[in-house]
Subunit: 184 residues, 2 copies
DNA sequence: CCTCAAAACTAATATTGTTACTCTTCAAGA
DNA sequence: TCTTGAAGAGTAACAATATTAGTTTTGAGG
């Protein structure tokens, strides 16, 4: 029984995300990650420069997944830009619920992948400009992302403790925000 | 020169917050914290059960400070509830800017001090109910906190990369959101 | 068949949080 | 005044972490 593992960098990054999602961010050690790949920890350094660089790669992967979620949210193409915006923002929240640990990691990291973020933001901005006007589109976009991101983060950190229908609250908050920009 | 340090638990918690704010959360080790108090690391365990419990205490302290910020924001008592809301939400953001590492720590922690959070939320809810009606006040409150929190988190993590006036964007986003709830 | 690079390994280090046990101080009760 | 004991400090030691250095195995190409 020799050394037949033959791990790839992509496999490492993927497994890291899997473990983060399964056991939580705190629990991810290089030893555990290596074990899950039938390998010893130092061998990881053939493929990854450091734990930090590995996490950067995981974050990049997560952003790609999130962008994909945005993209498919537009496939069901309802013409109304307000509806499309709601689809996008709900898709964002749904992604966060489906991948909570990944989501928190990606948005708690300073050195995020600018390109993927820009691409996502563009999809929202193009449609929100129709409500707010081009001049105010950037501010309106930022508020929209803030609203969704903040809502999700407060949910994931268990800071909405008073019960009630969070889905309805989210829908209502998004609607109010978009209405606020539409009202001239 | 015997053992005359006589550290108190409060002094430890306060120093921990100071170091977190000065050097960043990642850099806080019990060794460094102890050294800053002219003490050795194991001696901390006379006052604190674990690093986790220490951080909980720091979070509680931060929530108290944030609540104080909310409270003083209301002292300048403009009668208009919309103006009061804007004061509160701006005070929230200002606090986060003044204590970025503390803020991130407090709102990234699962086991937050429920009482302080409730108290803060109540101040916002009482006033937002005047716009949205009592029935929708909880949803409106949650959206408002989400908007502010999300905006601040995206700012602090450097995810608003396209420049522009962030103060103006924040003001506009808050105004749009509140307007959205007012427009029945 | 040989070689050589890729990719795994073992061994070792510094730093972390944490525990067990000891020493020093000093105030309260005898 | 003497003593006693608890509070708060210290030293030594451990397990786990990320990381580095150096070694061995594998397998494809010349």
């Amino acid at each position: 029984m020799p050394y037949p593992a033959q791990t790839s960098r992509e496999a490492i990054v993927e497994m890291a995300q899997t473990l983060i999602e399964r056991d939580g961010m705190e629990q991810l050690s290089l030893a555990q990650l290596a074990a899950a790949l039938n390998i010893k920890a130092p061998s990881l350094y053939r493929h990854v420069a450091s734990k930090g660089e590995l996490l950067q790669a995981v974050v990049a992967r997560i952003y790609t997944q999130l962008f994909t979620a945005y993209d498919t949210a537009l496939q069901s193409g309802a013409g109304d830009p307000v509806q499309q915006l709601q689809h996008l923002l709900h898709a964002h929240r749904t992604f966060a619920h489906a991948n909570p640990a990944s989501y928190v990691l990606a948005f708690t990291t300073q050195d995020a992948d600018a390109a993927a973020l820009e691409a996502m933001a563009l999809l929202v901005q193009q449609r929100i400009a129709l409500l707010s006007g081009e001049a105010r589109a950037l501010a309106a976009l930022r508020g929209a992302l803030a609203l969704v991101h903040g809502f999700v983060m407060l949910e994931l950190n268990g800071q909405f403790r008073r019960g009630g229908d969070l889905d309805a609250a989210f829908t209502a908050a998004v609607a109010a925000y978009l209405a606020g920009w539409s009202a001239h």
